[in-house]
């Protein structure tokens, strides 16, 4: 795609797309603000330095994985375990990419690099409406850029704010603010609960997580998740098979 930045009309369109992208992400950013601040405040008590916390937000840029890494660090987990858990937790992003790729495969590589780096739950939620539900996506990658910039700058800023607040009020870590992570995740899980396989996955995952809580390096998290995923997948395949068999009998 050739872009002509000397064309004023095109410049206006791009700027509008970026602004629209940032606007569409705004409600989700508001949800991410306490998340970022609490990540910053919990970093120190979990054993991550202030610079480490800031670097993690700048370089990794994955809210839930960062939160979980703090929990693992605090529990004394080994670095390879934390990295493996990060991988499992972030696997969901492959699904997001699979949805977007057909719309952006023609773009230059640098655009796709930016999109990959900025592919968070929030930006996917905001841009998928733009890319998948609206026509004329010629300049929609600028919309993505706007969404990513808004999300990213807010995340880094809130992390810094949290680190500062944590140092000013060391008591904050005893307020139970870690509940913010649980409540965010609850709000993310509930919309999935629409089918029997999904309920099965969640119930098995919860039970195994409690049963394996004593495992070293918090390995129980991965064991529980894998058991939950296999339960969901098995139930899904079983129910599908039964539906096929019933339709044959009719």
């Amino acid at each position: 795609m050739t872009s002509n930045s000397s064309n004023p009309d095109l410049g206006i369109i791009k700027r509008k797309e970026m602004l629209d992208g940032a606007k569409a992400t705004l409600p989700l950013i508001i949800g991410a603000i306490p998340f970022g601040i609490i990540f910053g405040t919990l970093a120190g008590p979990s054993g991550l330095s202030a610079w480490g916390a800031l670097a993690m937000s700048i370089i990794v840029f994955a809210g839930s994985a960062q939160f979980i890494s703090l929990g693992l660090l605090a529990a004394g987990a080994a670095i390879p375990v934390i990295i493996a858990t990060t991988f499992v937790v972030n696997l969901r992003h492959i699904l997001y990419a699979a949805n977007l790729v057909p719309k952006v495969r023609h773009l230059p590589h640098r655009w796709r690099l930016m999109m990959a780096f900025g592919l968070t739950d929030e930006t996917f939620a905001a841009v998928s409406n733009r890319f998948l539900l609206q026509d004329n996506t010629t300049h929609a990658h600028w919309f993505y850029l706007g969404s990513w910039l808004a999300m990213y700058s807010n995340w880094v800023f809130c992390t810094g704010l949290g680190i500062a607040l944590g140092e000013l009020f060391p008591d904050m870590t005893h307020w139970g603010l870690d509940f913010a992570m649980s409540v965010t995740f609850i709000g993310m899980v509930v919309p999935y609960l629409k089918s029997k396989p999904m309920w099965g996955a969640v119930i098995v995952s919860a039970a195994i997580a409690m049963a394996t809580v004593g495992l070293p390096h918090k390995l129980g998290l991965m064991v529980a998740a894998l058991c939950g995923i296999s339960t969901g997948l098995s139930l899904h395949l079983l129910l599908k098979q039964r539906a096929v068999r019933e339709s044959v009998h009719e």
């Binding site: 508001i30 949800g31 306490p34 993690m56 370089i59 990794v60 994955a62 994985a65 979980i68 890494s69 929990g71 670095i79 934390i82 990295i83 990060t86 991988f87 499992v88 937790v89 972030n90 696997l91 969901r92 992003h93 492959i94 699904l95 990419a97 790729v101 057909p102 495969r105 690099l113 990959a116 592919l119 139970g176 509940f179 992570m181 649980s182 409540v183 609850i186 709000g187 993310m188 509930v190 919309p191 999935y192 609960l193 396989p197 999904m198 996955a201 969640v202 995952s205 919860a206 997580a209 409690m210 809580v213 129980g220 998290l221 529980a224 998740a225 939950g228 995923i229 969901g232 997948l233």
Partner: protein
């Protein structure tokens, strides 16, 4: 340094997962069972984090009605079923938790 290794490793796996499909730009297709399986990843992983965090908030099992983490977690789930909106769930859940913890000193 340990922190640098940790952050670089986390970056590597996170970015790879996000980038792989953008890199090949749709030239590969997933088998259907894999796509279905991936659908179960977020709820399974998140649940495995949430449930111990609510039931063992301070180092030991706290399965009683005076556990504010558990009560506010159940409340947040109900709000989420009712409104299906992330921001409403977060705000309502946090408020409820704060009231229990500081209003009732639980």
């Amino acid at each position: 340094m340990n922190e640098a290794t940790l952050i670089f490793g986390m970056f590597l796996v996170t970015f790879s997962v996000r980038y792989i499909l953008f890199a090949v730009a749709g030239k590969v297709r997933f088998p259907p069972w894999l796509t279905t399986g991936l659908n179960f990843v977020p709820p399974a992983v998140l649940t495995a984090i949430i449930v111990p965090a609510l039931l063992i908030p301070q180092g030991e099992l706290w399965l009683r009605v005076d556990n504010p983490w558990l009560l506010a977690g159940i409340f947040a789930a109900l709000v989420s079923f009712w409104r299906r909106d992330l921001l409403t769930t977060i705000v309502a859940g946090m408020l409820f938790f704060m009231i229990l913890r500081f209003g009732f000193n639980l």
